[in-house]
């Protein structure tokens, strides 16, 4: 551990420096590939929507001898035609999911299951979702999503800088895409709890980005008055300085989420806890990645376009002499130790 913390010191002073900004092409390509895979799997497979979105009924019987065959028989006896999904949950539960049923049919299934497994009707956990309900919650979730992006963008533009807000939102959209893509690819069930998870990730992913950007702002406060660093170099230093912080906050955020996932999936089987924490778990990891590899380079690119920053880059280059392509290879100039930190030419591998 102390070795790790020692690394924090070297990163802080710029002795050890990872060139996050200079290698942005690599990160962009990695992310682009992931986003493409996400879009692809969304288009091909789509999301595995839970009954909350499609409408339908779900009955869970807790019994000492759960049996898929018995449950299926009971559903047939109740006169329910059409597809019913029957599965074992944990070692003492069996769950039946059907399409939308009339109230009387729901009652019939409950009665049949109760009789088959000799339990009371009241002990059967039932969830009935109306057919139009899914549209309602989807609509609300989308409102929530856009409302959030808008409000946060305005807030960050005021609290930090407008271009930071743009970069942060790009990173968040990136996170949502990849997380949704993973869901489509793996075929995890999407339930309202998953949606809560998605929406929470947004806040979380931004937390990390805010930490990085706040440091960037501090490092670049009076950057144009000197000629020691380009904007990109200052951003890179900020990312390196905050990386320990970002990693630690992410680990600390992941630990409780992982324990919900572990307990939720392990003890309860499918359910609110599992759905929520799975979305959080995936989203947190993607969010940490984007707050280091996506948001800062995007910000640097946006700001480097400004005339003042280009003039600054010119001044720094003049001073540095040989480091001609500095805007794309900022960290190298800060300390210039080792071949790893040698400037690379733009567009060359």
């Amino acid at each position: 551990m102390s070795k790790l913390s020692g690394l924090g010191g070297r990163l802080y002073r710029g002795e050890t420096s990872v060139n996050f900004i200079g290698r942005r092409r690599t990160w962009y390509i990695v992310s682009a590939v992931f986003v493409l895979i996400s879009i692809g799997s969304l288009a091909v497979q789509g999301l595995q929507l839970g009954i909350e979105f499609k409408g339908g009924s779900s009955f869970t019987v807790t019994t000492t001898n759960p049996s898929v065959t018995d449950a299926r028989e009971a559903v047939e006896e109740a006169g329910v035609t059409g597809e019913a999904i029957v599965q074992l949950v944990g070692d003492n539960k069996v769950r039946v999911q059907t399409g939308s049923l009339e109230t009387a049919q729901n009652d019939a299934v409950q009665d049949a299951l109760a009789a088959k497994f000799s339990v009371s009707v009241g002990s059967i956990d039932t969830q009935i979702i109306g057919p139009s309900w899914g549209k309602e919650i989807t609509r609300k979730a989308l409102y929530g999503l856009f409302g959030f992006l808008l409000v946060v963008m305005i807030y960050l533009a005021m609290a930090l800088e407008p271009k930071m807000a743009i970069a942060a939102i790009i990173a968040v959209i990136h996170d949502v895409f990849i997380t949704v893509g993973i869901y489509a690819l793996v075929g995890f069930d999407v339930t309202p709890a998953t949606i809560i998870g998605f929406l929470t990730i947004l806040g979380y992913s931004l937390y990390d980005t805010v930490v990085v950007f706040d440091k960037v702002r501090e490092n670049t406060k009076s950057i144009t008055s000197s000629s020691t660093k380009t904007y990109s170099q200052a951003v890179n230093l900020a990312v390196n300085q905050t990386i320990v912080r970002s990693t630690n906050t992410s680990i600390v955020a992941l630990l409780p989420v992982a324990s919900i996932l572990f307990v939720g999936a392990g003890l309860l089987g499918a359910g609110t806890l599992k759905d929520l924490s799975l979305a959080l778990f995936i989203g947190l990891i993607v969010g940490t990645y984007s707050s280091i590899f996506i948001a800062p380079p995007v910000l640097a690119q946006l700001r480097e376009k400004e005339p003042a920053m280009q003039a600054l880059a010119k001044r720094v280059n003049a001073r540095g002499g040989s480091t001609a392509e500095l805007s794309t290879t900022p960290a190298a100039a800060v300390n210039g130790r080792g071949p790893r930190n040698q400037p690379k030419r733009k567009g060359r591998k």
Binding site: G9, Y12, D125, F262
Partner: protein, 503 residues
């Protein structure tokens, strides 16, 4: 920044800040004690029960818009129905905003289907002539008093037996067929009636409002206007009954099988404009007007979601939630102790106090605003452990950065704070925005999650300002931490400094 007066000034009073926080906690605990709240109110998914979420819409065959008042009215109608079940702690509430609200009904325990059947029916408003009335108790003496002419013996017997003091007779069911002769109580349970088949329907009302007649002192009245059909139907009804003897000259306004009002008809009203007068208070007049307005455009309810959770599953979910919380807390504590060494104890202390504060708030809010803890709420609180710990990490890392620049721990605790504070405020504010929007744009479980997430974010701010920061300042004065001991979390080695700047 590091040598300005302000941070130094605050630095001199960490004990006072800690004392204030302690006082706040003691005050909260005393409040809890005084109010006698002993346990957190649990949601139905943690203790078993039935919850039904209804989406109101305009009844089939009608045109118009769902209004906010109509939803309020629907909530009170459904509340009446649910209360008739006599289950303690049942709740009916509208969630969401504006006309897009849902009505959420929660009934604890195993009532199963009865709730579901009871709440889904459309409640209609109808005008019926009163055939007989009596006080609400089933008195044998009253039985033969005024058997109304043209009413079957069966109905008369039912009328005699009807006990309006019993809650099940004060429920609306939506089962009052308009063509039936009806036996019904009034809403308060004080009077019972035999009512003729409906002659005028609620949807034949076009307008209703409460008004104040300034000429006759301050008498509140309700005026209503019928549409074309309603005008002729109401005209026919009033001209027929106005000359009849008591109580058959009364017309009952019946909503959902219960008599809301039974005004005496003093004259035939062919114009379609009527006034109901009486010794109304402002509130009563407005209530009646609202009932009439609702009757004009009754709502139907789509069953959005029905959830029945058995007490066994509820208990399982509660256990799982608590276990996950304990496990998450444990892991975070282990991690911070490993990484930050003795400094980790400040985090552990902060988390413990945040936990205590959250628990007290759960108790208080349960009392004040009926807050109930759901599974999603527990998840929100667990996730918040991470958010809370994040703030400490941001602060600690900042302090370590300051020390890397050569500051002493004592100074760094102050200068690092000034800079970390901003970051924490911005980041927490973003979390808060997320929580508020989640809360506004969601129903049911999601709201519970958003609520605890928002609550814990605020607690996080309180703790970091009032506990973590002063605690670190206090600690920074101690010899152990200042000496750069290898277990302090501030040793030159762990900071990655080759030379100790300050011994």
């Amino acid at each position: 920044m590091s040598t300005t007066n302000k941070p130094v000034k605050t630095a001199s009073r960490p004990t006072r800040t800690l004392a204030i926080l302690a006082l706040v906690l003691v005050a909260m605990a005393s409040l809890v004690f005084i109010q006698g709240s002993t346990s957190v109110r649990l949601g139905l998914d943690l203790r078993g029960g039935t919850s039904v979420t209804l989406q109101p819409r305009i009844a089939p065959g009608d045109e118009g818009k769902v209004t906010s008042e109509a939803i309020d009215q629907a909530v009170s109608i459904i509340r009446q129905r649910v209360n008739s079940l006599g289950v303690a702690e049942s709740e009916v509430a509208a969630q969401g905003s504006g006309t897009n609200r849902q009505i959420v009904i929660s009934v604890p325990g195993d009532t199963g289907r009865r709730v579901v059947e009871l709440v889904g029916q459309t409640a209609e408003l109808r005008f019926r002539q009163v055939l007989a009335s009596a006080s609400g108790i089933p008195a044998a003496a009253d039985a033969g008093a005024t058997p109304a002419a043209g009413v079957s013996a069966e109905v008369n017997a039912k009328f005699a037996a009807l006990d309006c003091t019993k809650s099940e007779n004060l429920q609306g069911t939506g089962a009052d067929a308009p063509t039936d002769t009806l036996v019904a109580c009034d809403r308060a349970g004080g009077t019972k009636y035999i009512l003729a088949p409906a002659e005028v329907l609620g949807r034949q009302i076009s307008k209703a409002s409460a008004g104040l007649d300034t000429q006759a002192g301050s008498a509140w009245f309700v005026s209503l206007t019928f549409n074309n059909e309603g005008t002729s139907a109401f005209g026919a009804l009033t001209s027929r009954v106005t000359s009849l003897p008591e109580p058959t000259n009364q017309v009952a306004i019946v909503l959902d099988g219960l008599v809301v009002s039974a005004p005496r008809i003093t004259e035939a009203i062919p114009s379609g404009n009527a006034q109901i007068t009486g010794s109304f208070t402002q509130l009563e007049a407005q209530d009646l007007a609202n009932v009439l307005k609702y009757g004009a455009l009754p709502l139907a309810f789509d069953r959005g979601e029905v959830q029945q959770v058995s007490p066994t599953l509820g208990a399982d979910q509660l256990d799982a939630g608590l276990l996950a919380g304990a496990l998450g807390m444990f892991l975070v504590v282990i991690f911070t102790l490993l990484y930050y060494r003795a400094l980790g104890f400040v985090t552990v202390g902060s988390l413990a106090i945040a936990g205590l504060m959250l628990y007290l708030l759960f108790l208080l809010l349960g009392e004040w605003i009926g807050f109930t803890l759901t599974l999603a709420g527990i998840a929100g609180a667990i996730v918040a452990i991470g958010v809370t710990a994040d703030s400490f990490i941001v602060y600690f890392e900042r302090v370590r950065d300051e020390m890397r620049e050569g500051r002493t721990l004592r100074t760094a605790a102050e200068t690092g704070w000034v800079r970390a504070r901003r970051t924490i405020l911005v980041a927490d504010f973003v979390s808060l925005i997320a929580a508020v929007l989640l809360y506004v744009f969601s129903v049911g479980g999601v709201r519970g999650f958003a609520f605890t997430l928002g609550l814990t974010t605020i607690i996080d701010l309180i703790i970091i300002f009032w506990f973590t920061k002063p605690a670190l300042v206090l600690v920074s004065r101690s010899k152990f931490f200042n000496s750069g001991h290898s277990l302090s979390g501030f040793s030159p080695k762990s900071l990655g400094m080759s030379v100790a700047k300050e011994a």
